[in-house]
């Protein structure tokens, strides 16, 4: 009797996991395998027949200037994004956590950008760059400023600004959670020891936030390297390819006017490898530092 019940339970547990196993294997693992496979063919994405060409697409990309420029733009973008995100959202979290009046209202204001669609955010800022900057300039009596999106030295930073405007909310919430998990006694004893507010931040808050900083770094790094929506809606890679992030390049290569589906897949495999390596490095660094291990 007891055995029969145990078996029945085992079977139901297994059946419960089955749809997840099937869906995940089919759409995730099979697709990734398919992506690897396409990266070793000469398929443009449209023709009926194609051949297996081994690693020659990888060889081609290693000597391709446009690809390397995309990679370097993407790294610059992701590095700046991580830097700005960590600094600004730590400051915001510490500030938001310490206020007493209108706390909920002010927190909600800062969370608000996370509610809007990225496309709407991008197009609203696009209009502000086009319409508001010139009138702001003329009101201040300075030289006319045109939209930074049309200028190849500034476009990437303008895209990053719009991206940050929306994406800071979530890391800030995670940092607030991190700060709230710091034991109060530590602050109390630091006050007794005569620590100033800055010293409290430097010697109590910050060390305790190291694990949270590494979570946010991984999440932001991945978001930065795969960033797509803002550049797609704002500049589509222009002007003069100055915002051709790797995500945009993959999309353009796969579905553009002259499709190179095999090359696009090769690029995404390389992107996958970059992310895997960076995540592993980051994980091994963060498991060696921080209060939890010290």
């Amino acid at each position: 009797m007891r055995n029969k019940e145990l078996n029945r339970d085992r079977v139901s547990f297994f059946l419960i996991t089955l749809p997840a196993l099937v869906l995940y294997s089919f759409f995730y693992i099979y697709s990734v395998a398919l992506g690897f496979y396409y990266s070793m063919t000469n398929w443009d994405g449209l023709s009926k027949a194609f051949d297996f060409v081994g690693f020659s697409n990888y060889g081609k990309l290693l000597t391709n200037k446009a690809f390397f420029s995309s990679v370097s733009i993407t790294f610059r973008y992701a590095a700046l994004m991580v830097l700005c995100t960590i600094i600004i959202s730590v400051l915001l979290a510490v500030s938001l956590n310490s206020i007493r009046t209108f706390k909920t209202f002010i927190k909600s204001v800062f969370f608000f950008p996370a509610m809007i669609s990225s496309v709407a955010v991008a197009l609203i800022w696009d209009q502000i760059f086009i319409r508001a900057l010139p009138s702001l300039a003329s009101a201040l009596g300075v030289q006319t400023i045109s939209s930074p999106l049309g200028d190849k030295t500034n476009a990437l930073y303008a895209v990053l600004f719009v991206n940050l405007w929306q994406s800071l909310a979530l890391p800030t919430v995670i940092f607030i959670a991190g700060i709230q998990s710091i034991p109060d006694e530590l602050y109390e004893s630091s006050v007794i020891d005569g620590a100033s507010m800055f010293q409290q931040f430097r010697y109590v808050t910050l060390p305790y936030l190291v694990p949270t900083i590494s979570i946010n770094t991984i999440l932001t790094l991945k978001a930065g390297i795969t960033s797509f929506d803002y550049a797609k809606a704002l500049t589509n890679g222009g002007p003069a390819r100055s915002t051709m992030l790797i995500g945009i390049k993959i999309y353009t290569d796969a579905f553009g006017d002259t499709p190179k589906f095999n090359i696009a897949n090769t690029e995404s495999v390389i992107l996958f490898l970059i992310i895997a390596v960076l995540s592993l490095v980051q994980l091994s660094i963060s498991s060696r530092s921080g209060v939890n291990k010290a």
């Binding site: 809007i116 197009l123 993959i250 995404s268």
Partner: protein, 280 residues
């Protein structure tokens, strides 16, 4: 002591300046969107910053009269609601099975297998999936829904397995002794204990499905009648390139459902996300 107070005043005023600046930066674009949506194109081009001379609802009327707009709203609602329902039914249950059988090899494997998704950028899956879905004749809302369910697995299972681990197992064991089956135990007991995490999941995933741009762009951009709202917003730029008061009106109306959800669940959003973050 006086130094202390002076330091406090200094940091507090720095903090308040920072917060004020941030709030202006967040609210300023939104105020411009609201004021300009009440203007005619002519009025808006004369002055982008001025308050509208009258409350002109023509943009709103025109938007609501266009049949396509409702089709896009309907598509977005359908995709978001069906995906969310499936995910809420499905992910906690799978996580329950994994969390309570971690000692078995299959479930440990399944957990790690699903966590691999954390390292996989969307691009590498999306390209082959577009070809796969087109072969299966699934470049439509149903295909999109299936993908949302699958792509929600990694984060959802991660949050729930850890959460269920932290729950006491004794009640379930008692139910088991009383003869409850796995599903009975789940639907009578576990489901009530995981409510906080369910609301976190709903908020994060509803925001994602409703606002997502990349997946619909890859899957649905070619067939107009299947567009979701973000695709409509994206294509708006090219179609009505100069009528930005109209575009702003469209953004505002798309924002309304989210705003309603936000007002009702604001407590859950920040507290829930906080709870989720601590667990992770």
């Amino acid at each position: 002591m006086i130094n202390d107070r002076r330091e406090k005043v200094f940091w507090h005023s720095l903090r308040n300046t920072l917060l004020l600046l941030g709030m202006v930066l967040v609210l300023f674009p939104m105020i411009l969107v609201v004021t300009n949506s009440f203007k005619t194109l002519e009025e808006a081009s004369k002055s982008f910053f001025a308050f509208p001379q009258s409350v002109n609802l023509d943009n709103l009327r025109e938007l609501l009269n266009s049949q396509n707009y409702f089709r896009y709203v309907g598509n977005s609602l359908m995709v978001t609601a069906v995906s969310m329902l499936a995910v809420v039914l499905f992910i906690p249950l799978v996580s329950y099975a994994i969390a309570r059988n971690m000692q078995r090899r299959y479930y440990r494997f399944l957990y790690i297998y699903i966590m691999l998704g954390l390292f996989i950028p969307s691009q590498i899956i999306l390209l082959p999936i577009v070809k796969l879905m087109s072969r299966l004749n699934m470049l439509n809302s149903w295909g999109l829904i299936l993908l949302y369910i699958t792509f929600s697995l990694t984060r959802g299972v991660f949050l729930f397995v850890n959460y269920i681990h932290s729950l006491p197992i004794e009640i379930e064991e008692a139910a088991h002794i009383d003869g409850c089956t796995v599903l009975q135990t789940y639907f009578h007991i576990v489901i009530h204990l995981i409510q906080p995490m369910v609301s976190t999941l709903v908020i994060m995933d509803v925001l994602w499905y409703w606002n997502d741009f990349q997946l619909p762009l890859f899957l649905l951009n070619r067939s107009r009648e299947m567009w979701t709202l973000p695709l409509f917003q994206y294509n708006f730029k090219t179609e009505y390139s100069f009528d930005y008061p109209m575009a702003f009106t469209a953004y505002l109306v798309s924002l309304l459902p989210v705003l309603v959800v936000y007002c009702f669940s604001q407590k859950f959003i920040i507290n829930g996300l906080t709870a989720g973050a601590i667990k992770s």
